[in-house]
């Protein structure tokens, strides 16, 4: 299990593989009438689906081995290039900063740049995230 103390600014990782299918785009659109990515052609994945895919890859490959205590939010999200059915997506993360929380000594705040990219290495979603991570040996 990785705790706040085990992480360092500048650390980068690359995770996962997600084949985007027409069915997934259609199913998500049927459940949630979320907006398209500005400028995308019809049939593109909605931006919010890409955020959800990024979250799933993060949970499967990073958070499952991390003493994660949730997230207060995301500072910025955009979608530089649209994603379409057949694209094969992967996630990369870069740890930007870590700081202890004076108000909650049992955890620290981790800021990361999370990027979902297509098979050409083009970013289809970029998220500036915040995460609470437990500190080693400090009980709540």
């Amino acid at each position: 299990m990785r705790y706040w103390e085990d992480m360092a600014a500048g650390e980068t990782h690359r995770y996962g593989r997600h084949e985007l299918s027409a069915d997934e785009i259609a199913d998500f659109g049927a459940r949630f009438a979320v907006p398209a990515v500005a400028g995308a052609e019809p049939g593109a994945a909605p931006g919010h689906l890409l955020c959800c895919i990024a979250m799933r890859l993060l949970v499967d490959h990073a958070l499952s081995g991390m003493a994660s205590l949730g997230s207060p939010g995301v500072d910025h999200i955009d979608w530089p290039v649209p994603a379409y059915a057949g694209d094969v997506l992967y996630l990369s993360t870069e740890m930007l900063s870590l700081r202890p929380l004076e108000s909650r000594p049992e955890m620290g705040l981790v800021k990361q740049r999370v990027t979902l990219s297509n098979q050409h290495g083009e970013a289809v979603a970029r998220l500036a995230t915040n995460a609470f991570v437990a500190r080693r040996g400090v009980s709540a």
Binding site: F32, V37, H48, V59, G70, D78
Partner: protein
């Protein structure tokens, strides 16, 4: 439809309610955010959330649908450019009823273009008037309707 030219900074609206059932909360979490505290009351009881709560991404999905595809406020949204300052302030639980307060923060459009850029500040409240999420969304909206 509500087009770009119908909006101006300072305008406000309140839309809702929306929400999700326990089955919907768990189905969403299984698909996109399978952290234990979003899958069962038992796992959630040992965390900040206390009991089963919705993924923050599920909350955002409900909010976006409520604001950008709502027959009660039929915005001619053509796409989303960005989301900023997304904050999950409090847990969203199954069967919570959620309302979105919308404030138009900024409008800008090139002369003669068919669309404009509209920035909306959104605050999501539950049935107890507790703010559960805040976010700012940047949308492309059709300028002239019909």
């Amino acid at each position: 439809m509500i087009g770009f030219d119908d909006l101006a900074p300072g305008m406000t609206a309140t839309l809702g309610p929306t929400g999700a059932t326990r089955d919907e909360v768990v189905a969403f979490a299984r698909a996109y955010d399978p952290q234990p505290f979003h899958l069962s009351d038992e796992a959630a009881s040992r965390t900040y959330f206390k009991r089963l709560s919705a993924s923050g991404w599920h909350t955002v999905a409900m909010t976006l649908a409520l604001v950008t595809a709502n027959p009660d406020w039929p915005l001619a949204a053509r796409g989303c450019e960005a989301i900023r300052d997304l904050r999950w302030r409090a847990p969203v639980y199954p069967d919570d009823r959620l309302w979105a307060d919308i404030a138009v923060a900024d409008c800008d459009a090139p002369d003669g273009g068919e669309t404009g850029r509209v920035t909306l500040a959104l605050t999501l409240r539950n049935q107890d008037d507790v703010v559960v999420a805040e976010l700012t969304i940047v949308l492309i909206v059709a300028r002239r309707i019909g």
